[in-house]
Subunit: 101 residues, 4 copies
């Protein structure tokens, strides 16, 4: 299923606004961390905010993964075993990157 | 697709020996870490082995996840949307546990 | 050692510019991810960028932790055991949050 | 501070029994995961146990890290800046491995 194929809609299509809202908030968190460093805030307090922003990014990833599986992977499974194998392999590599990041 | 349903075979069925071999090795790694502590080995060296065993466990999990997607999730997708949604939801929760562990 | 104590300088003081430069880049990465979603880019490609931004945030955290240990924890160790114990305990909690995020 | 230096006692010395007890339990968890695979248990249930064992291993690591900081790093800080720098650098590398595992 190629990205340009007219009939394919990505799994996240229905949740675009939610993802964009989360990403804007994460952008603000990152700016906030920079301000804490400019203002010489205590290291541990800065680290707490970095962990919170990291966790928020992972929540975006977990949402995208679920939507990818319920959209792209399920569509591919209905299309045929070869398409399904390709999508599963891609999803597994994405999960490994997420686990190791 | 319940576990007991005669016709369902888990995604990992073809790789059981490989998983069992890895798990036996991880068991040995954990015993090795215990011996290092009994022998008063240097903390950092013990930590290096704990990270290696943690990584080996995650590799088992990543393998099981891929097999679950290519087996159970793909089978469910072919069976119907309700079955597919349930399997995707289960897989997503397992991925979240793995990312957060 | 409280944050307001005039004579204490945080461990990251010497690397502020480097941290700020990294954080600005991560801000840009997060905006880039949002644009990919607006442009309906393929889920896996978006996920790759989310993992990259997550990793970049963790690198900021690892740098701040090292600087905290070499600054605040070492200073506290020289000051006395009670101060050292407090700093070590704070650093350990920050490490646990980072490992679990 | 070399491992063999008579006067140095590792940070974990006081908690050896606790670490050994945890490691024995993790060994049992890993054996239990192998039995689940031999018994063809459902993939998701096996994955839940792998995440639990991974988390238990990380708890051992977090404990060892705290003890290393309060023992070896604090001792080194009292001994001198060069020793402290070496220990902090080692601890940071161990934290990075743990975060990335």
């Amino acid at each position: 299923m190629t990205e340009q194929a007219g009939e394919h809609v990505h799994g996240y299509a229905d949740n675009k606004d939610d993802h964009l809202r989360r990403l804007r908030r994460i952008e603000g968190q990152v700016r906030g961390i920079a301000r804490m460093i400019e203002d010489d805030k205590y290291c541990i307090d800065v680290l707490t905010q970095v962990s919170a922003a990291t966790r928020a990014l992972q929540n975006v990833a977990l949402g995208l993964l679920e939507e990818h599986m319920s959209g792209c992977v399920v569509d591919a499974a209905k299309a045929g075993d070869a398409e399904a194998a390709e999508k599963v392999q891609e999803a597994s590599a994405a999960i490994a990157r997420l686990v190791r990041s």
